[in-house]
Symmetry: C2
């Protein structure tokens, strides 16, 4: 029996502004690909293997497009700080621990277990400057069957003595990581400059060379706070804005995804770049709250046709679960509405960001729809009496298909 049919309450996006909810619907799957979605039973289903998830939710798995894997043990720590103190007092010392491979293995094993348990199957991950730890993470992701872009993190200035590379080391290690990890169907390398202030122009241009040579995408932090944007501008006075650094140094030349975390204060330059290079801006509402940076204009950007996805941004944030990030995206937008009158993010919008937009950089994931992969979650409804089915924010036990 090669085709399977799953019955349950299907939730997927109809559009950016509307959810599609099919109660007691059917999903047919062959070789991991959805071949049919239907509200009604069809005669040809009778030969399929039937799997009963009635009373449970069937959702597309979530995509987490900005997360720092080595900071997983650190979430919730250093809340009283703002960005730079938090980096220097907590984050850099924490990341430096990953020169120890045993530590890396222990933390990354827990992280991957928790990604799976919480339904985030498609990831874009920051790491550290340590080659062995980066390879350990890549191997574990492959082993777990997750979809991911990850790279060796580049830092060659404005970093502590105990946690920094020379420009040459950073480039050499990056190329070695790329060559070792290219060609896998699910886990792929991506350029990972930490952010403009910790990377010299020479390093950036070297990474630009790899973008072209290996046809790679890039992930970075962009206009994360006014202080960060001002510092980047000071270090790169020849460029008009934070975003132009990446463009002019050649990091946007490859065909891989361009992932920009935060984008709280996009200028016209950033907006142009995001459009021109089909960039994705990653909204991380929990960490944004923690660093007092202001709030991404997520709806204004969306209405202009810019693509917004969601990121947990652990450890700046407290939790890994993207279903909680969805709720936080709605909540934080209400603050922006209260103070600035912006359009509020509705649940359907945030769900679309977390599934369709986030999934768009991977291969056919993010919807329960014909032709998409059945990378899906089956969520048990925790509360069983007289209740609506859609309980985002307090999702139950996650059963898995990936």
């Amino acid at each position: 029996m090669s085709e399977k049919i799953y019955q349950g309450n299907i939730i997927t996006s109809k559009s950016f502004d509307e959810l599609e909810i099919i109660e007691d619907g059917y999903v047919c799957v062959r070789d991991g690909i959805i071949t049919d979605v239907s509200k009604e039973w069809k005669k040809e289903y009778r030969d399929h293997e039937y799997i009963d998830h009635r009373g449970h939710l069937i959702l597309p798995a979530f995509s987490d497009l900005h997360m720092h894997a080595p900071q997983y043990p650190q979430r919730g720590i250093g809340m009283d700080c703002l960005l730079f103190d938090w980096l220097n007092d907590y984050t850099f010392p924490q990341e430096a621990n990953f020169k120890d491979e045993t530590y890396a293995k222990t933390v990354y094993a827990k992280l991957i277990r928790d990604f799976i348990a919480q339904g985030s199957f498609h990831l874009v991950l920051y790491t550290t400057i340590h080659m062995n730890a980066c390879n350990i993470l890549a191997d574990m992701l492959k082993e777990a069957g997750l979809y991911a872009y990850t790279g060796l993190t580049n830092m060659d200035r404005n970093s502590p003595d105990y946690y920094v590379d020379t420009t040459e080391e950073s480039l050499r290690k990056t190329e070695e990581f790329i060559l070792r990890n290219m060609g896998h169907d699910r886990v792929r390398p991506i350029l990972t400059p930490r952010f403009a202030p910790t990377c010299t122009k020479e390093l950036m241009e070297g990474l630009g060379g790899f973008a072209k040579k290996y046809d790679l995408g890039v992930q970075t932090h962009l206009v994360e706070s006014k202080a960060e944007a001002a510092w980047a501008k000071e270090l790169y006075p020849e460029f008009a804005s934070d975003g132009e650094i990446y463009e002019k140094c050649g990091l946007l030349q490859g065909s891989g995804p361009k992932i920009f975390a935060h984008v709280i204060f996009p200028t016209e330059v950033e907006e142009r770049i995001l459009k021109e290079y089909d960039g994705i801006s990653v909204h991380c509402p929990d960490s944004t709250s923690n660093i007092t940076a202001g709030i991404m204009p997520a709806m204004k950007m969306s209405r202009k046709g810019l693509k917004i996805a969601l990121g947990s941004d652990v450890g700046g944030a407290h939790f890994l679960a993207i279903y909680r990030t969805i709720a936080r995206a709605v909540q934080i937008s209400k603050m922006k509405e209260f103070y600035e009158g912006d359009e509020r993010v509705k649940l359907a919008n945030a769900f679309y960001m977390a599934t369709v937009n986030g999934g768009s950089i991977f291969d056919r994931v993010g919807k329960i729809e014909k032709g998409y992969r059945f990378n899906a979650l089956v969520v048990e409804d925790m509360l069983d009496e007289k209740l609506p089915h859609f309980l985002i924010g307090c999702i139950g036990k996650v059963l898995l298909h990936r």
Copy 2:
């Protein structure tokens, strides 16, 4: 052996602005009361029963001073609404289910299990208008050994036909609930007018009579949003402000605690009343985010000597855990700092609100300190390598002492 000694990493408040952290400290307990807390081992400890929690945290249990028990199944639902639509479309229909005792038993059993699992042992709870369900909840709280104030909820106008009492019914049921549940050492009745707009003046004055006759406290919602405050003012034009309704109708005459949820826009009248009657304002940062009401000036009020505690405010909020509410109080205050320049809530402040201030209405709870009850949590550190101990926001398994 009548005295026990617990060893672990003790966390308690030194003051509103400072935590006391004793690594590998000792807590001695006799008959549920703390008799000594020490950093050093003392000779007289040798006869005590020793309990080893080294590597774990020992914290005072949390107090949740504003929570709607019947809304527990509803958390996370109706996020796209503001307050009044949320009440009419989701909340009132949900609460109306509690005329069914079997449903009440099922939901309240889960709720109490989760309060315990998440370390909230001291509670102030809203209910519904249903006598039997209210008594079921009170009995379950007693049985579980939790500390609580709860009352039958009063609504005699501006409520749906299927979920409202007459003034006379509401008063009769309230008195019956009081008489049945008075005199217990842990679970006590409290007056529970839903909020001014759903209560006539006649009902309020009747409740005022009970405050005096039975020496009771009161819980209510106060200046929760500009819309709510304006509506209350329209319905009670003879009073200067929302708070004065409760004062002038006599609800503050008893010696029980006066618990005011939200208090987002306190006027001078509210500030006077809070001081004069030793009222507690309950900050509910998660639900406040959800209803786009604005943000309580928690630090300004604290610096004026007003007492602020924390509430989960489920189902307006998404989660029950007060340790998460602590993190949310810090986060939301950073938004207020960003937009209004207010002093930010630090972790020590929010912890104090959740333990010392919240605990102050119960009997000697909220600190790990000589003379206090050992209502405490032992929290396993989830992450075991090279990590700081204090992981608020991602607390581990909760072991219990109560």
